[in-house]
């Protein structure tokens, strides 16, 4: 019954978490010498399905065949023994250990550990595949993309015949992504089976041979990649026709709302993170901020929100009604947010900032509003209705508004966060990585929301990783490079290559 | 030695129990249980007395591990509710709560052993009792003195065991600088001194009645300071076992215990222990109860009635100790030996002629009750609890 090439066959797999049915009678084949893209909206059960292959979850029902014989994968160890390796959606790294220690974690062997040998072997693998990892560096000292690289080296070090990657590129730079894809193609050519989960459809088109689609936990169908296109894939995921154009209405009556002048910021270790940054964010327009990770976007937004200690410079807020200027530096985050400056920041681990994983939807909505009113007691009614509204409007997949947000799938967590921030009716809306890990449909929902805000006259500051989106969505783009302003270009007609250059070199080619 | 004297005078009275003997119900409040030497001695005394007086097991209600706090008051009133007519508590800290219960239950007799406020309280149903522990301490001091003499004669006493003025160092591990302790260590010291004249004693307080490690460390500290004989007024085996260990590793040091026979933990270094036989008092009290007579407000007896004794002599005791002990004990029994004979000690170099023992106004300084008469300080005659609070010459307290 299994196809000749199929190295893994999953048959009628069902998995439930409490009342959530994450996978419902899913059948999936994974073939040798092929890269398979697993597609689906947020919460459609992709991660769950793959976790059952890698031994993290155990299916409630169904069978798994590997190389033709039925297996029972009870733990990640069993999966390793079957040659299955997986890069997880959320980092599986121990912060206080070094890269090398993380890579060799759990490997067989007794007795004394010779780190020298290990380090050499890791460096060999890195140079073979063209990755740059310092084996001795601690994880907590690493940037997101460095961590992701360690994750990749980890599976390469172990070696796997069946490799599963769950949104590996969400935090990688385009160059790193290219390197990874080259490696994956090599592996396919070596006859290994590769499964990749991603929401970036151009990656799917570029890399994979076949796509399989899940929707609401059910298997919908599969297609050969070269016979399909982004629109068709999206329709299959969502179950209806969606348009994939980002609107960009003309800004109406833009007036400076936030004026940053000569901003300089150092981190706790005294390293300069921002140096003499000046710009203005106008009402009724979307200001994009581009830059490679770690170039200071985070510090910039946090300075405006009052979460960052500033060394010098000024940040003034111009009140839309009175036109009066207010200095934001030195004000605490609370005062700043009451002025109408909202920040929704999606950190790498999604939770941990802006949301409380163990609290339910209502209580998370309350985070912004609980102080309202003079009463000693917090109002819980309006957050509840807000939660209901966000769930309905943004199509959040959740058993109910009393579910802890930690239980939701990554994409849905993000919708809650962005939805709440917008609900504050801000005059300045800053979002960072708002669509990180979001499925394409949800991403467009977010873009629409931002455009709505812009049309209401809100000054929107949008930090994003995807240059294509920045170029399509933003009215102006501020490019940061190593903490300095590399340039500010109008969004309409901007050249992707030029902006890309400016991200890596101050002022781009012109700056030479 | 005088362990377990056969008969005590008051025991004879038990021959004629009154008609309502079965109606007597005894409540016992113990601060710990049989796992501490002090309480074990009380338990043993009560059981023995009950057997002697003919009180059945089910006429005694035991309450163990009663704290020195409201728990004592709760327990006392609970015992009243259970129909107890005589209630005994064994720890000093119980006293205030016993007194409180006594003031609220006039038809029940409350006895606070080792307490001191019965007379002052003027409550007819509130009593105190204590033995003459200082007598057995004196006798144990004599045992120690004999040993010391032997050590001196054998040349074991080295330079480090002597003070600059040539006196030989001995040590004492005490609980608190409380009159009961002061009275006890002074008696011990005078006992040693009656054999070897030139001794000086250092007292180290542990600030606890029972703490094996603190007692051991205090003993270690005294040993390292050169003390060659140690005694104790604290309840654990800490000090004797420290002496035994020191003796094993070559430091000559011998010890006198308290309450418990220390030979099992310190077979070579323990000489003897001073002990109380509480059954003497309990027999007296139970007989009063059976006959419906009033118990004495302050009861205090010693060697003469067998309420005090020392435990079996250890193998290390000096030759002739037996005879000497017998002689001293006889003198104590017939009253020819006065332990606190004012001619035998001085305070700040001068003889003591007057001492007010009883405090009536709560400032903790005696203001009535002259204890010295005819050159003798009479301990435990004005009330049952000891009141000898003088710091005599030759004894140094490490802490005030």
């Amino acid at each position: 019954m299994e196809g000749a090439k199929a190295t893994v066959c999953m048959r009628e797999i069902t998995k439930t978490f409490g009342s959530t049915v994450a996978n419902n009678c899913v059948c999936l084949d994974i073939n040798k010498g092929e890269i398979l893209s697993l597609l689906g909206e947020n919460g459609s059960g992709k991660t769950t399905l793959m976790n059952m292959l890698s031994g993290i979850y155990y299916p409630d029902a169904g069978q798994i065949f590997v190389n033709g014989s039925e297996v029972s994968i009870r733990s990640p160890k069993d999966a390793f023994e079957l040659g299955i390796g997986m890069i997880h959606q959320h980092f599986k790294l121990v912060d206080v250990l070094s890269a090398a220690e993380n890579i060799i974690l759990g490997m067989p062997g007794n007795g004394r550990l010779d780190m020298k040998v290990v380090n050499e072997k890791i460096l060999n693998i890195c140079s073979l595949y063209g990755f740059d990892v310092d084996p001795k560096q601690k994880i907590y000292d690493m940037s997101v993309s460095q961590k992701q690289t360690v994750e990749i080296v980890k599976v390469l070090y172990r070696g796997a015949d069946i490799l599963i990657l769950d949104e590996p590129t969400a935090v990688l730079t385009p160059q790193e992504t290219d390197k990874l894809f080259a490696v994956l193609r090599n592996m396919r050519n070596d006859g290994k089976a590769v499964v990749i989960i991603t929401h970036k459809l151009h990656e799917v088109e570029e890399l994979s041979d076949r796509v399989a689609v899940l929707r609401h936990g059910q298997y919908i169908g599969e297609m050969v990649t070269k016979d399909t296109n982004a629109a068709e894939m999206t329709n299959m995921m969502v179950g209806r026709t969606v348009s994939l154009n980002i609107a960009r209405p003309e800004p109406k009556d833009p007036k400076p709302r936030i004026v940053v002048d000569g901003l300089t910021v150092r981190d706790i270790d005294g390293v300069k993170k921002l140096s003499n940054v000046s710009f203005a964010a106008n009402s009724g327009e979307i200001l994009g901020i581009a830059g490679i990770s770690g170039c200071g976007q985070r510090e910039l937004l946090e300075s405006i929100a009052g979460l960052q200690l500033v060394e010098s410079g000024s940040i003034s807020y111009i009140d839309p009604e009175t036109g009066k200027q207010v200095e934001l530096i030195g004000k605490d985050p609370r005062t700043i947010s009451t002025l109408g400056v909202a920040l929704s920041f999606v950190p790498e681990d999604r939770l941990g900032m802006g949301l409380v994983g163990n609290m339910d939807l209502t209580d998370n909505m309350m985070l912004r509003s609980f102080r309202r009113g003079k009463s000693m007691f917090a109002d819980r009614k309006s957050p509840r209705s807000l939660a209901e509204r966000v769930v309905n409007e943004l199509e959040v997949v959740t058993p109910g508004i009393t579910t802890p947000v930690r239980r939701l799938s990554g994409g849905n967590v993000q919708k809650i966060l962005v939805g709440r921030e917008i609900a504050c009716a801000p005059t300045v809306l800053m979002t960072a990585y708002a669509v990180r890990g979001l499925d394409i449909n949800s991403s467009y929902t977010i873009y629409d929301l931002l455009n709505q805000q812009k049309e209401k006259g809100v000054a929107v500051i949008y930090v994003g990783e995807d240059l294509d989106v920045l170029l399509e969505l933003c009215d102006r783009i501020l490019i940061l490079c190593g903490g300095e302003v590399s340039g500010i270009v109008p969004g309409r007609g901007a050249n992707k290559r030029e902006v890309g250059m400016m991200m890596t070199k101050l002022g781009g080619e012109a700056g030479k | 030695t005088a362990k377990n004297p056969e008969a005590s005078p008051s025991a004879e009275a038990s021959a004629t129990p009154s008609a309502d003997a079965a109606a007597v119900k005894i409540g016992v409040i113990l601060v710990h249980d049989e796992n501490t030497g002090y309480d074990a001695a009380h338990i043993e005394g009560i059981k023995k007395a009950a057997a002697t007086a003919g009180i059945a097991d089910d006429q005694i209600v035991w309450k163990y591990n009663v704290g020195e706090d409201e728990g004592c008051y709760d327990t006392a009133t609970d015992l009243v509710e259970q129909g107890c007519t005589y209630i005994f508590s064994d720890s000093y800290g119980h006293q205030s709560y016993m007194q409180q219960a006594a003031s609220e239950n006039a038809d029940v007799t409350f006895v606070s052993m080792t307490g001191d406020t019965a007379a002052l309280s003027k409550l007819p149903n509130f009593k105190n009792a204590f033995t003459h522990t200082f007598e057995s301490r004196y006798v144990s001091g004599v045992v120690a003195g004999m040993k010391l003499k032997e050590l001196v004669d054998a040349g074991t006493v080295a330079a480090k065991n002597k003070n600059a003025d040539g006196t030989i160092k001995i040590g004492y591990v005490g609980a608190y600088p409380y009159a009961e302790v002061v009275s006890g260590y002074t008696a011990f010291y005078l006992g040693v001194k009656s054999i070897v004249e030139n001794v000086a004693m250092t007292v180290s307080y542990t600030n606890s009645w029972y703490d094996p490690t603190a007692e051991a460390e205090a003993a270690n500290q005294l040993i390292s300071a050169g003390c060659i004989i140690l005694s104790q007024h604290a309840d654990s085996t800490g000090a004797p076992s420290a002496c035994e260990a020191a003796l094993k590793s070559g430091t000559a040091v011998y010890c006198i215990g308290y309450n418990v026979d220390m030979l099992s933990v310190a077979p070579t270094s323990a000489l003897t222990s001073s002990q109380n036989d509480w059954s003497v008092y309990y027999t007296y009290a139970f007989n009063c109860a059976l006959k419906g007579e009033d118990i004495a407000t302050d009861w205090s007896e010693g060697y003469a009635t067998g309420a005090n004794m020392i435990s079996a002599l250890g193998a290390s005791c000096a030759a002739g100790t037996d005879a000497k002990v017998a002689e001293v004990e006889a003198a104590l029994k017939d009253g020819t030996l006065n332990i606190f004979d004012c001619s035998k000690f001085t305070v700040d170099g001068a003889a003591v002629t007057t001492y007010l023992a009883i405090d009536t106004d709560g400032d903790w300084v005696g203001d009535t009750g002259e204890a010295i008469a005819n050159g003798v300080f009479s301990e435990s005659t004005l009330r049952s609890a000891p009141y000898f609070g003088l710091r005599i010459d030759g004894i140094t307290e490490l802490t005030k």
């Binding site: 121990v94 007795g111 601690k138 | 180290s204 600030n207 500290q221 590793s249």
Partner: protein, 323 residues
């Protein structure tokens, strides 16, 4: 001079009790289990060792010191390990709250130990009559080549055993694969699990072995410190808490715990050697070890350092399908 030696010895003896407790607890905590049952486990180790030796000595006509010593050691290790097993089953398999389970284990251990200790006192014919002198002497025998060397005279072999264990634990944790895996389990069990490490097995083993080591602290207290007797005064419990404190003081490093424990011991008994204190000022002086600990704690927290932190997942249960 002799006074200083005497203080140092007091410090080392005292320190050794809490050092065992702390090494065991470090092993346990490295697996992410916060076992507040250390005092209870030390109680179990102490009473089992004593009971074993007592049983042996009362049932054999001419007891052999070495056999008594071995029996005591084995009994202590097994009983304390069983205490760890109760804790492990509840917190690892049944995922019960670690704090409450630990505190309960302390109540349970002290109850069991004092119950049997009391019973043994009775069987031996009264307080202070439990005599396991022969065994206890074996525990307190000085090493032959050290018997005359200043502070080392009068220290039993377990003092050195504690030091060796500290070095072994440090080597294991920092230099071996299994140690690395164990640290990963305590830091991030989900990661360790995904890496194919059997989280449950590591947690069980390190908690039970850690408990067994902690139990040696109780054994040392009973056999060496109070010389083969039993008292129901709660002495072990207090030292057990200090052992828990020492773990944090030593920042989860076994070797740091060595000097930490001796320092603690020295500060603890210093008051006996300071002349001229009054009884009440002595009580104030006895605050010293605790106040010094607090000061060290503050100073350490001023120098923020990633390496000085507790295992990141300490105190949390792990369930693979949880997220």
């Amino acid at each position: 001079m002799t006074q200083i030696l005497s203080l140092l010895q007091a410090a080392m003896v005292f320190g050794t009790v809490i050092l065992f407790g702390a090494i065991g607890e470090i092993m346990t905590e490295k697996s992410g289990n916060l076992n507040l049952g250390v005092p209870g486990i030390m109680y179990l180790g102490g009473i089992a060792g004593l009971a074993g030796a007592f049983w042996y000595q009362t049932n054999v006509a001419t007891p052999n010191a070495m056999i008594g010593l071995l029996i005591a050691l084995v009994c202590a290790l097994v009983a304390a390990g069983l205490g760890g097993l109760i804790y492990s089953f509840l917190t690892i398999t049944l995922r019960a709250n670690q704090n409450v389970t630990g505190l309960t284990l302390t109540i349970f251990g002290s109850g069991v130990a004092n119950l049997f200790g009391g019973a043994m006192n009775k069987m031996a014919g009264g307080v202070g009559q439990i005599s396991v002198g022969i065994t206890s002497d074996a525990f307190r025998d000085t090493l032959p080549f050290l018997s005359n060397v200043g502070v080392f005279s009068g220290l039993g072999f377990m003092v050195y055993l504690a030091i060796i264990l500290a070095f072994l634990a440090s080597y294991f944790l920092n230099r071996t694969r299994k140690g690395l895996n164990l640290r990963a389990v305590g830091e991030n069990p989900a990661t360790a699990d995904a890496a194919g490490i059997n989280v449950t097995r590591y947690k069980y083993l390190s908690t039970c072995i850690g408990a067994a080591i902690s139990g040696l602290g109780g054994l040392y207290y009973v056999m060496d410190y109070i010389k083969g007797t039993w008292s129901t005064d709660g002495g072990i419990e207090k030292l057990g808490w200090l052992a828990v404190a020492l773990v944090i003081f030593a920042r989860w490093k076994p070797i740091q715990a060595i000097w930490g424990s001796y320092l603690f011991g020295a500060l603890f008994w210093l008051f006996l050697y300071i002349p001229g204190l009054t009884r009440s000022s002595q009580e104030i002086f006895k605050m010293l070890p605790y106040v010094v600990t607090i000061i060290v704690l503050i100073v350490v927290s001023l120098r923020k350092n990633r390496e000085n932190q507790p295992p990141a997942n300490l105190g949390m249960a792990y369930f693979r399908e949880e997220r």
